[in-house]
């Protein structure tokens, strides 16, 4: 038997919840302090997802919605990296789900009011499980920036949404990856809801020219770190173990 506990979150390296520059947070962000308590079984055991849920094209967004193998519009990119915990241990079998706008900055979603065109060959939806070394890779299209109503009309930098499950519910993470060099990053209130510069920069996918040259596609590297889980072994092991 071993006891597990999650490393406490450092909220200074996360976005502020109540951040009026991001207008939607005004009536949605809770005002009270969160209650802290020690990790229990609920937060530290599962869920884990089986590889049999993953289809062959799930991590290829250029093909998983295309009709007759027609490529979506825009330029293809590789987005890759590793998922590890705060102790630098790679996490095998982490489920990564991504979603994004198409090359014109339009989501395949009824609530997207941006007048840009949809792409009939692109849904913007993909997923994969990390390998034994924590590695993941997606083939997709460079998402476009797009306007949205906030304090008047503002522009979202190019980004891909990431949802990640590690080994436990307490490691659950939802975030966004941005693209190195995008001038819209520093203007974005959602990015700026993170005050810490180093934390902010950790969300920027870095252009990897060596991988780009090998594959003849632009490649962006985005490493993800989930919370560490400490294990304490009880001294009731059988002799000889």
């Amino acid at each position: 038997m071993n006891a597990k506990s999650l490393i406490k979150r450092n909220y200074e390296k996360h976005p502020e919840i109540d951040f009026p520059d991001y207008k939607s947070s005004i009536f949605r962000a809770p005002k009270n302090r969160k209650i802290s308590f020690p990790s229990s079984n609920t937060e530290t055991i599962g869920p884990i997802f089986n590889k049999n849920i993953i289809g062959k094209l799930d991590n290829d967004l250029t093909l998983n919605f295309s009709k007759n193998k027609i490529s979506p519009l825009g330029h293809k990119i590789i987005v890759y990296g590793t998922v590890s915990d705060q102790f630098t241990n790679p996490i095998k079998g982490a489920l990564i789900e991504i979603w994004q706008a198409n090359a014109a900055g339009k989501y395949l979603h009824d609530n997207d009011e941006n007048p840009a065109p949809i792409d009939p060959n692109f849904a913007g939806c993909g997923r994969c499980l990390t390998s034994s070394s924590g590695y993941y890779e997606f083939l997709t299209i460079q998402p476009g920036p797009y306007p949205y109503p906030n304090r008047g009309i503002e522009w979202r930098p190019m980004h891909i949404h990431f949802s990640i499950f590690g080994k436990s519910f307490g490691q659950r993470l939802i975030t966004q990856m941005y693209f190195e060099g995008d001038p819209l990053i520093k203007l974005c209130p959602m990015v700026n809801s993170i005050r810490n510069e180093k934390a902010k920069n950790s969300l920027i996918g870095v252009l990897d020219t060596s991988k780009s040259n090998t594959k003849n596609l632009l490649a962006y590297k985005f490493d993800i770190v989930l919370r560490g889980i400490k294990q304490t072994y009880f001294e009731n092991r059988k002799e000889g173990l």
Partner: protein, 191 residues
């Protein structure tokens, strides 16, 4: 015990935004070609209707408006209090018209934790939506269970503990509304 120090910072959260369905529940918005099933459609397989309970409710913003673009993820142990890594997870979105989410699941059992304390039956929730820069966490307990010795509930003052307790509305059926702001603001947890 030796203390191990973390070497890396956790990757920061960002909002899941209004279009999270595309990545998390594509079939729910008629993107049907890609995944055979949405993740977390049913928390436990092969259960009979009479073994299931229903937890329903809405997520209200500070204006009292029920959100329709929120995603709620639920995680729980089985009826014996056992966590099985591959079952017990569900994803929910509110119904378009009623704005209510509905979880059909088995009633979790109580369990003895690593700390040897007994936890009352509960379902853990993770809430993501546009306007939430970080996912919110809370728990659902059940009003018809023994709750007074639960290690979490016992550290919360009596005034606001009720926001974590689902009301029984009929046999096997519970109501659990979530209030993001206001007098009834739900207790959210730093898990």
């Amino acid at each position: 015990m030796e203390t191990i120090k973390a070497k890396l910072d956790e990757t920061p959260f960002q909002t899941a935004g209004p279009f999270l369905h595309i990545g998390c529940m594509p079939n729910a918005i008629k993107i049907n070609k890609i995944y055979q099933n949405d993740l977390g459609e049913i928390p436990f397989k092969d259960k009979q209707e009479n073994e299931l309970i229903t937890i329903e409710g809405s997520v209200f913003d500070g204006n009292g408006v029920a959100l329709d673009d929120v995603m709620i993820e639920t995680w729980q142990c089985d009826e014996k209090g056992q966590f099985n890594e591959d079952s017990g997870f569900a994803r929910l979105i509110p119904n378009n018209i009623t704005k209510k989410f509905t979880l059909k699941t088995i009633k979790p059992g109580s369990y003895k934790g690593f700390d040897r304390k007994t936890y009352s039956p509960h379902v853990s929730l993770s809430i993501s939506a546009r306007g939430l820069n970080m996912t919110l966490n809370t728990r659902v307990y059940f009003e018809d269970d023994e709750l007074k010795n639960d290690p979490l509930l016992s550290i919360i003052s009596l005034d606001n503990v009720n926001s974590l307790i689902a009301k029984k509305i009929k046999k096997n059926s519970y109501l659990f509304d979530i209030f993001l702001q206001g007098d009834k603001e739900t207790i959210f947890l730093d898990i």
